[in-house]
């Protein structure tokens, strides 16, 4: 106590500075705990709200619902301990940053000035909520770099690092994974270096195993609370499934082109800083400069940005980690300034210029990310909340309504409004895989769902992929087992009834519009990629007909009964220049569907007819019309082969 008193007395300015900054961050974080204004038209925000609702209903993540962010953000509104950790996690991250800056800059004035500019940058550009997440791996990188620089990495320290990183892993999964990777890079580099130096290799391996064991033991203790949590809630296998199946699935379902975002100011800044820092580190390594904390921090942050960039390549998060690039820039810049200087105390003009550059970058960033359009437009975005209420009011007039619905493609706000236990995946975006959609179908069956609400205004839940493509298995089940009962605003209310045909002409223009939308299908590249990868699956299946023109094919279809179940349409375009192909498939009752897709460049395209909305139900194929420059065939595929096709 006396020591603390003496430290405070000696460093009163530092203590006041830290107290002010920490209080500011805590107050802002406290407000983040209480969400009041959500634009519910956005399915992403609806999903977040549903997750908070699920936490309040004591639903267990991984077991009862899909939740990818870790326990800290899941329980932050429900559990006082998690609330406190949430409020103070960025306080801790910022304090770590400040003390590392203090060590790096060695001068009080500069470390305070840089810390303030850094905080202003965080508040203005990515925002504190982003720092609450990405700031954790940033602070851990600084700690790991510092630890590997100053100490001989004793077993106690390795144990402590294992404990801290593992605790972060179950609180914020992705941040923990980044920290594990950065630790592994530093640890193995150091061990390889030691291996080269040791003459007695046996002694080296003995020490290596002891060090590894210390870290792993720390990891085990760090994960212990989480393991107890999983065992208590019987969710160990579900967490394992999340780790080994759901997590690898995520990049596959969420990948978007990087080039659309590459030329944004944030991305260009990060890539430029990354390149410059790599240059600088190479230069220092080749000049065989004495090892310095700068070098360790620079390498640590370069690896961290490379990891963030891998996520950025999948789906843009460039603005979220600009603060890491900014931190790397000002560390490299300062390192560059003092590179050949023996005495850094008398460089006032340089230091001032340095601070002005940092301030200038912050201001440029602020204006480059500021959206001037929002200044002139109405900030109160219209929400669809009222139409959700109207749908519920309508549902309450039905005698069969049991306060449960299923929402397609994903308006999870319905579950919160109805106080219903939501399905495992709240939208078809997360449930893009066949297995996930099967889980949703089981939910509909097991929970006695009488009504399904389809948002017909939402044609593509994400990335312009039509919902009938992404959510094909779910939609197939819905259209085969439910029929239209009512329309409210942009929503179709469907009632459980498998006898009616969804595609029967409707007098309601909204229903007919949706039917027309489902009958004009765009498959884009799917037939092309199926043609490339799935041709082996079709070997040993029966070719029903191979026709060089539509007349021959339709004569055959007139004479023979060919049902759509397990039928694969094979199309080969004879003209290389055609960019897209259109085919019209007609079934009984004058129903026909138009199918568009990208040309397959003189190769075979495969279309699984059962995945076209009209053929979700098994129907007789009456005719197929297409351009006579194409070759069309029909293959009857057995049940095993059809499982391999989309």
């Amino acid at each position: 106590m006396k020591k603390l008193y003496l430290y405070i007395k000696k460093n009163i300015f530092e203590v006041i500075f830290i107290v002010i900054i920490d209080t500011l961050i805590s107050i802002i974080n406290y407000f983040f705990l209480h969400i009041s204004d959500l634009k519910l038209s956005n399915f992403d925000l609806q999903t977040f709200l549903t997750w908070y609702y699920a936490a309040s209903r004591n639903l267990i993540p991984y077991k009862d619902l899909y939740y990818p962010y870790g326990l800290l953000s899941y329980y932050r509104q429900e559990n006082i301990y998690f609330s406190l950790i949430y409020i103070f996690i960025s306080v801790l991250a910022f304090n770590v940053t400040f003390y590392i800056f203090k060590i790096v800059f060695k001068q009080n004035f500069l470390s305070y000035a840089v810390s303030i500019i850094f905080l202003v940058f965080i508040l203005l550009i990515p925002g504190l909520e982003t720092f609450n997440r990405y700031g954790v791996s940033f602070a851990l990188t600084l700690i790991i770099s510092y630890v590997f620089f100053v100490t001989k990495t004793s077993k106690k320290i390795l144990f402590a690092l294992g404990f801290i990183i593992s605790t972060i892993f179950w609180m914020l999964h992705d941040q923990g994974i980044y920290a594990y990777i950065i630790f592994a890079v530093f640890f193995f580099s150091k061990e390889i270096n030691k291996f080269m130096l040791y003459k007695n290799k046996l002694r080296f391996f003995g020490e290596f195993f002891k060090n590894t064991f210390s870290f792993l033991f720390g990891c085990f203790i760090g994960l212990f609370i989480f393991l107890i949590y999983l065992i208590k809630h019987n969710a160990v296998s579900e967490f394992w499934y999340y780790l080994t199946v759901s997590l690898p699935e995520f990049p596959v379902l969420s990948k978007t082109p990087f080039f659309n975002f590459l030329f944004t100011f944030n991305n260009l800044f990060s890539i430029a800083v990354l390149c410059l820092s790599i240059f600088f580190v190479i230069y220092k390594l080749l000049k065989k400069r004495k090892k310095s904390l700068f070098m360790y921090i620079e390498i640590g942050l370069i690896i961290l940005i490379l990891l963030f960039e891998q996520k950025n390549v999948i789906r843009s998060i460039s603005i979220s980690f600009t603060f890491v690039s900014f931190a790397l820039l000002f560390i490299v810049l300062f390192d560059f300034i003092i590179l050949n200087k023996k005495n850094i105390r008398g460089l006032k003009p340089l230091k001032l210029t340095y601070l002005l550059i940092l301030l200038f970058i912050t201001i440029v960033f602020y204006f480059s990310n500021y959206n001037f359009n929002t200044f002139f437009t109405n900030k109160n975005n219209s929400s669809t909340y009222n139409s959700h209420i109207a749908v519920i009011n309508k549902l309450r007039t039905y005698s069969q309504f049991n306060n449960k619905i299923f929402s397609f493609p994903g308006d999870p706000i319905f579950y919160t409004l109805l106080k219903q236990i939501p399905p495992y995946f709240t939208s078809i975006y997360e449930a893009s895989s066949e297995q996930s959609q099967q889980r949703i179908i089981d939910y509909m069956k097991n929970n006695n769902i009488w009504y399904v609400v389809i948002n017909i205004g939402n044609k593509s839940i994400q990335d312009t992929v039509p919902n009938y493509i992404r959510g094909v298995y779910e939609l197939k089940y819905i259209l085969n087992n439910y029929s239209v009962k009512d329309t409210v605003s942009n929503f179709l209310i469907l009632e459980r009834n498998s006898n009616k045909d969804f595609f029967t002409k409707s007098n309601d223009y909204k229903v007919q519009e949706y039917i027309n939308y489902l009958l004009n299908v765009n498959l884009e590249s799917i037939p092309y990629s199926e043609g490339i990868y799935k041709s082996r699956s079709l070997i040993n299946n029966i070719i029903i007909i191979n026709a060089s023109n539509s007349r021959l094919l339709n004569e055959f279809l007139n004479k023979n009964v060919v049902n759509s179940k397990n039928i694969v349409l094979v199309v080969k375009n004879n003209i290389n220049s055609a960019k897209s192909i259109q085919i019209s498939v007609k079934s009984e009752n004058d129903l026909s569907t138009n199918v568009n897709f990208k040309s397959c460049d003189l190769k075979f395209c495969y279309i699984n007819l059962s995945n076209l909305p009209l053929f979700y139900k098994n129907r007789r194929i009456k005719s197929i019309n297409y351009n006579d420059n194409s070759l069309v065939g029909l293959i009857k595929v057995n049940d095993n082969s059809i499982k391999e096709l989309w």
């Binding site: 699935e249 596959v252 379902l253 969420s254 990948k255 978007t256 082109p257 990087f258 080039f259 890539i271 990354l274 390149c275 790599i278 240059f279 190479i282 230069y283 080749l286 490379l306 960039e309 891998q310 390549v313 893009s432 895989s433 066949e434 297995q435 990335d463 312009t464 992929v465 493509i469 992404r470 094909v472 298995y473 884009e524 590249s525 799917i526 092309y528 990629s529 199926e530 490339i532 990868y533 990208k598 989309w646």
Partner: protein
């Protein structure tokens, strides 16, 4: 040192210009992604956008200047 930076920048700019006019052609070397056993159709599977193309390009953009710089530095050292 100034010369090395100058030559690195020039070569990198040339690389960027070549890349700018050939990246669509370069993309055709990559096959469209397969709809795997997960049966997931996201953006890249639907539009046939090569899954690893961006990762390769990203590392090219970052590593090419570093490699040029490293080669010049090593040459200079000799």
């Amino acid at each position: 040192m100034k010369k090395i930076i100058f030559y690195t920048t020039i070569l990198y700019l040339i690389f960027l210009i070549i890349f700018r006019f050939s990246f669509r052609y370069f993309r055709t070397f990559f096959l469209p992604p397969e709809i795997s056993g997960f049966k997931i159709v996201g953006y890249s599977q639907y539009f046939g956008y090569p899954f690893y193309y961006d990762t390769v390009v990203f590392f090219l953009l970052v590593l090419v200047p570093s490699l040029i710089f490293l080669i010049f530095m090593l040459h200079h050292k000799k």
